[in-house]
Symmetry: C2
Subunit: 220 residues, 2 copies
């Protein structure tokens, strides 16, 4: 059973490296976001929608986590920004050490905002602090409104929940108010926004959230 | 990193218990299926669509794996069949020992078909043999046609791939032929069916697959 065998030592070591990552990022004035979701919820599509709007004001880099393939990294690299690809080789989440290696490889003096796209998995990524400033999770409405109570840890650990693919609401059974209510039962501080990467709905509000977060968190 | 710390000992122990489970199930003439997918791909909905059609000819039980909550188990129990609920308490997959406990609790003399619904996760469940006769994975078309190469192990380990939610094809960008081609590149023996639990399309063919599998695998 994974949870048991990760063990306190490994967790302690992850926390330690996450702390180093956080220190490096703060010293460089870089605000950082860890994007987490189930497979196919739209993390890469969100970045593809977001980066062109943010890059006027921000110098952005992306760390892309994938089990296999560099497909997502290629989609991001096509935007002309710096991307560091982590192929985990089957490991189901990023950890702080993987991100630490990426931080050594990126030109941190030339960026002020970092997105870390985690492996598509609604369970394990939530257990690993990467040293990010905020965790942002995506839940696609096609996944069902019962997910908060079934996968509570990720909702507990996230600062912002993006309900994605709301363009598909007419075609699926998904009760927005139920999903929001259950997410807030688990984490009353969770902020929630509705978006569609396909139609662009809510993307401006998400950009606004990022900008406000940066101002209040003291990032550059 | 989970994969490393599962370790050979733990894997060996899992294989051993999976072998015991397989022996028990064969002695009782029970054919068994391990259903795997990302969260929200429709495993429970598939069972809810399937069981009423199968129960005329088969005596069915279900083992339901969930991190938290018994919601899925309640949906299945409402059909009036025997359900054993495993709450993993945060562990991101079922293992053979969990299923072994369930086999002790179920009345194995009164059933001839067992469905095991794994935890919603496209990564870790594929690493754990439960002693089942066949692994069946669901991929919802809302998850994207790039998933086979990004999450190859589950495609390698499955005998049947059900492409679910095909009623949503007009509303999403999903290239069926690309997804099938890439899945077959990974596992040339993989059988593939298209289904919609919502409209019922393909459910008869899936039932037919189950019946043929049972006949050819020598189950009762």
């Amino acid at each position: 059973m994974h949870e048991v065998h990760v063990g306190e030592d490994l967790r302690g070591r992850n926390e330690e490296i996450a702390g180093e990552n956080r220190k490096i990022l703060r010293e460089k004035g870089i605000v950082s976001f860890n994007l987490m979701s189930a497979p196919g919820a739209g993390k890469t599509s969100l970045l593809v929608s977001t980066i062109p709007l943010l890059r006027e004001r921000s110098r952005i880099a992306v760390i892309e986590g994938d089990l296999q393939t560099s497909r997502d990294a290629e989609r991001i690299a096509a935007l002309g920004i710096e991307v560091f690809q982590i192929e985990t080789g089957g490991v189901c989440h990023l950890d702080a050490a993987m991100v630490h290696s990426a931080l050594h490889a990126l030109d941190l003096d030339s960026i002020d905002m970092l997105f870390i796209e985690n492996v598509g998995n609604l369970v394990c990524p939530a257990e690993f602090d990467l040293g990010e400033d905020a965790r942002v999770m995506l839940l696609s409405v096609t996944e069902g409104d019962d997910k908060p109570k079934k996968y509570p840890l990720m909702f507990t650990e996230s600062r912002l929940l993006l309900l994605n693919k709301i363009d598909l609401l007419p075609h699926v059974e998904f009760d927005l108010e139920k999903a929001k209510g259950e997410a807030l039962d688990i984490n009353p501080k969770l902020e929630i926004r509705e978006i569609s990467c396909k139609t662009g709905k809510g993307i401006e509000e998400w950009i606004g959230w990022i900008e406000r977060f940066r101002e209040t968190s003291g990032g550059s």
